[in-house]
Structures are given as structure tokens and as C-alpha cells.
Symmetry: C2
Subunit: 350 residues, 2 copies
């Protein structure tokens, strides 16, 4: 039995486009003491953020790095180089401050929240931990839907609730879940109608044999969920709790005109679902980096977006989003703080 | 009469390579709680910095952003979209805090020093300004050497002295000088034996006509300095005071095992000269970004280096170096602060 879902009560996301405001933002940038366009991507970022906030003088306030963690039933089929226990162990590591994303969040003054979206482990309460567990891991998608329709909806709602609970106007998305590059590959394949082979990669580091096995398992998962067609059906059938929560978080953030900084392949899969539901949602998203997970480039093409950086990272956790944060902050500061030709008494071009 | 120079008293730069230390750094990274290699360029950066400092636990101390400014006699030939006065006006803007590099330095806590390497203007003294003026602008390179051998040597020495005067173990290089993309193009063409057409770009924003004119002027400059062959002769004939000072600064920084963060096309030209003098110097350099000045990609190929970012920036001032700074800082923090599989109790791959 396939999950049957509608999305009548999901937030409606309006495009940010506003020709007059865009022109005013660009004019402000063009009067800054630099050749027109010389700040490249930092200029288009500043314009985007101005449009997201609907103002000529955008400000970034209390950025929140949120790492959604969940376990995947599919992991039992040996699709990852790491055992499932690593999901909860890494949650502990995030909270203890020893993970890459913990270090980067400290460096940049990003508030870090870890969300238990559905980890197979009971965590002791901690201030930076939100327990929103839908279940102790999804079902094995190679045998049928990973989640029921109710579970999927609950996860989306929980993601929205997480954003509502947090201050500020920027959400940086991260995730943890052994097996979740499989889930992202399945979502990409089904939603973009791409052959599975173009969507599967080595994840945390499979060898050739492991990769071949992963492909076989994922092919069964597609077959076992052949009937899942709508974005929400596909999300429930092939996604994960952490991915569904990121879909909800993204829609809620966009609804509130918060900026969303998207990490890599798995967060990208959540955006793919969100975009299928609400096409304007990517107006609110900054894509931090091109992951070295091979299919990520294809995913970015499908989303029709260009990431900010390419550092050959493939860690997840929101690490790429965190690394990109200072660039995002720079774009807004340059718009706010640079002098104009007039104010600085600098001669413009002849 | 061509300048005749030797470089017997320039610092000798030793390669940083040290197989055992490299292996120890890589091993430390490989035990961190992440798949092997998952931090991509941030890992190779951390290894590079460890090698530069000769230690397993590198630290970045008191990073200094130094903007060298100088005027170019060649500017009188109309090779730039902006008048020469913009050089000194932008120096004032750097010092007043209104330029892009001022904003970025503030954001990242980088100490900003502006060096008058040879600007056609008398500046009032300021704490952040070092006046090391060799002359009020170079001579017109389309008529003969831009500098005498003595001037070139004085500029190199002054660049070394600037680094000696500054604390810390990181130098971020920036520059300002109307006409200096011309100088950089000439240096690239002569030092790499490339046709001029492959080295010339639009600089701060020439139109097609301006670009054609620039090419013609630069061709005369190459002809007028046909006899300049050795790196120092070429630097004197076709360089600028700010470029020569950056050559000295880079050699001195490498000699002291400081890390050098290189900005774009013009700072890159200084590294090209420094590399011709001391091939190991690039071991100490991080190339911040790929500029959208077209010939920069060619220059990076000649230098055999990969930049960290590509944000379509083309501003100079050290703006690209400043934008890259947090990535450099991240690499060292990740090496220092991430937990290992053992210390965090995380299961390693099967």
C-alpha cells in the first residue's frame, strides 16, 4: 500500500523577484568604490539576500546551523562503508564539540542545534539537542516505503516546528544519517527521472565492490516503490526522517523569508523535494558548495543552481554550509559598509 | 640601457617538503571523525600549513593583510578605464575603512597595512600607512624600463622590510595601482614566453576599443624592453613598485616560514617573478581565488597551482585573499580541534 498524501496545508512560497528592488540593490552595488561587477558572486549574493528580505539594506541575524539526524532501514543492506551506530555516535560528537561542523560553528559563531529526527538511540537531553524522533529509523526502502504517509507528514511538520523554535533570519542546513546518500540518490533518480547509475556515488567511501552492491540494493528500492510518483509519495517511499524534516524546515524558512544555506548532496535532495512542491523555494536558498559526491553536480544542474565553492568536500553535517557562511556574511557587509564613489571622493571611470 | 641586476643577496627559499611530517599530518587528519579525505581542500591546506611551519600542530598567528600601492607611468597611455588619481584616492579609502578590503579585514579581524610603494601623491601619516615610496610612479614602460635596477632593488628590499616590521606568521597580499593589470600581463607574457594576446584582459573594465588600445600599448612596452631577460631585469623593465615590493615581501615571508595568501592577477604576477627567482616559494603560498581577469587562469597554470575559490571576482586590493582567509583558518582549526574516532568513541568503517 502506497502512502497517499496531499500538500494542501504546506506553506505557499512566493518568488522573491521584485524588479524595482533588484534594480535599487544593483544600483547601490554599482556606486560602491569598485569597478562594476568586480565583486562577482558576492554581488549577486547580496542582491539575492536583499530580495529574500525585501529590503535594500539586508542584515543577517542570529544564523542557526541545524543538523538533522536520522537512521535508515536501508543501511541494513550494507549500502554504507560505516555501521548504523555511527549516526548516534556522531550526534554525540556534534554535541560534544568534536565534529567538523562543531569546530566550524564555533569558528563562525553559528548557533548549532542537533535534531534527532529518527535516530535508533535514546539521547540524554542536552540544551543544543531537539528530540523530534518520528521513529527509531525508517523502514528498509528495498522492501517498501521507508515511511508511512503519516510519518512523512509528521517529519515535515517537525521540521517546520524546529525552524519556528529558532531565532534569527538564516538557517544553515546539515544532516547525519548512515545510509542517507542512498536515500538522496533514490530521490534524485525518481524526481528527476534519471537513470540510477547517474545518481549513485561512493558516499562516505565505498570501494568498487561496495558501490556495485549499493547500486543493486537501490535498484530494488526503486522497484519496491515503483508506484510512488508525487513529490510527497516519493519522499515517503525513498527519503529519510532527516530529509523530510529538512523539506519542512526549508519551506517554513522560506515562508518566513529566512535565507537557507544548503550544504551538499543530501540537503540538496531535500531541496529537490521542496522545489517539486514549491518551485520558488530555491529563491531563498544559497548552495554552499559542489560536493565531490559525483551525482551532486547532476543534482545542482537539475535544481538549476550554481554553488558558491568547490572544495572537494563530501562530509555532510552542514560542514560545507558552515564553510560558506563567511562568504555570505561578506556579501551583506560589503553592501552595507563599503563607501560609494561619492562618499569616498574617488573618481569614477572616465 | 637595460637595468643589470643579480640576486645573490636575495633569501634562499627551501622547499617545505618533509615526507615524515607530511605523513604524520595526514595520519592525524585520517583519524579525525570523518571519512578519509572528506574535507577535501581543507585537508590539503592543513597539511601545507603544517609543512610551512614545520610542525604537526600549526597555528595561525596575527594575520597581516598588506596592500601595496603604486602608480604606473604606462597609465598615461590610457591602458585603464580609470584615471591614475584613483590610486591615491583608493589608498585614502582603504585607510578610511570604506573599501572592499577594509570591510573584509574588519569582518575577519585581519590587521590591514597600506604601503605607499610609489604613489604619485603625498600622504599624511597614519598608523596603518607605511610610506616606502621609491618614486612618484614608475616610468612609462612603453618607452623603456619602468624602473632602474636600483629602484627595483630598493622596492624588493622595502617589501622585505615591510614583512620584517609586521608580527604574526601569515601575510595576505593585496595591491592597488591604476595600470597594474597591464604590468601583470607584460610580466606573464615575458616570463612565461606567452603571446601577449593570451595575457591581456579588460582589467577594471575596458570596452573592446579600450582593450585593443591596451594590447597595442603593451606590445610597444614589450618591444621597448626587448632586452630584459632575467627575472629581475623583466621585473624592473615591466613591473611596478607595488609588484616589486610584493616580490620582496613574498621572499621574506617564505624565508621566515610565514604563510603567504595570494590574491589575484597582479599579486600572482609578483609570485611569478618570485618563483622564477626561487622556485620553492610557492610551497609557502595559498592561491585564494581564480579571478575573472581572463589571463589569470593561464597564470595559475604557469604557476602550476590550483586556487581555493572561483567567485568571479576581479577587484584586487587583496579582496580575494581576505575572502579566502576563513577557509584557511578553518583548515587549521579542524586539524587542531576535531575529535578522533578514538577520542570521540565513534566506530570506524568496517
Amino acid at each position: 500500500m502506497l502512502p497517499s498524501m496531499t500538500h494542501s496545508d504546506l506553506p505557499v512560497i512566493e518568488p522573491t523577484h521584485h524588479a524595482a528592488l533588484r534594480a535599487r540593490l544593483q544600483h547601490r552595488l554599482d556606486r560602491k568604490t569598485k569597478p562594476v561587477g568586480a565583486l562577482g558572486r558576492l554581488e549577486s549574493l547580496a542582491v539575492q539576500i536583499g530580495l529574500v528580505q525585501g529590503r535594500e539594506d539586508p542584515v543577517l541575524d542570529a544564523p542557526q546551523l541545524v543538523v538533522f539526524a536520522g537512521d535508515h532501514g536501508l543501511a541494513a543492506q550494507g549500502v554504507s562503508a560505516y555501521p548504523s551506530d555511527v549516526t548516534w555516535q556522531m550526534v554525540e560528537n556534534f554535541l560534544a564539540g568534536g565534529a567538523a561542523v562543531s569546530v566550524l560553528a564555533r569558528q563562525h559563531g553559528l548557533a548549532l542545534t542537533v535534531v534527532d529526527a529518527g535516530v535508533r538511540h535514546e539521547f540524554a537531553p542536552r540544551p543544543a539537542l531537539q528530540v523530534r524522533k518520528v521513529a527509531a529509523g525508517t523502514a528498509d526502502a528495498s522492501q517498501g516505503p521507508a515511511m508511512s504517509a503519516d510519518q512523512c507528514r509528521a517529519a515535515i511538520d517537525a521540521g517546520r516546528e524546529v525552524v519556528r523554535s529558532l531565532p534569527g533570519n538564516v538557517i544553515l542546513l546539515g544532516e547525519m544519517g548512515i545510509g542517507n546518500t542512498s536515500s538522496a540518490a533514490l530521490l534524485l533518480s525518481r524526481l528527476a527521472a534519471l537513470p540510477l547509475a547517474q545518481c549513485v556515488g561512493r558516499g562516505t567511501g565505498l570501494d568498487d565492490e561496495g558501490l556495485a552492491h549499493k547500486c543493486k540494493v537501490l535498484a530494488s528500492a526503486l522497484q519496491a516503490n515503483a508506484g510512488a510518483k508525487t513529490p510527497l509519495e516519493v519522499l515517503a517511499a525513498l527519503g529519510g526522517f532527516e530529509i523530510a524534516m529538512m523539506v519542512g524546515a526549508t519551506l517554513q524558512a522560506a515562508r518566513e523569508r529566512r535565507l537557507v544555506i544548503v550544504d551538499g548532496f543530501i540537503t540538496g535532495a531535500a531541496i529537490l523535494v521542496a522545489q517539486a512542491l514549491q518551485p520558488a523555494v530555491t529563491d531563498y536558498c544559497v548552495f554552499a558548495h559542489r560536493s565531490s559526491e559525483l551525482a551532486h553536480s547532476r543534482m545542482l544542474d537539475v535544481l538549476k543552481v550554481e554553488p558558491l565553492m568547490d572544495l572537494s568536500m563530501r562530509l555532510g553535517e552542514g560542514s560545507g554550509a558552515a564553510v560558506a557562511w563567511p562568504l555570505v556574511a561578506s556579501s551583506v557587509r560589503l553592501l552595507a559598509e563599503m563607501a560609494s564613489f561619492e562618499s569616498a571622493g574617488v573618481s569614477d571611470r572616465a
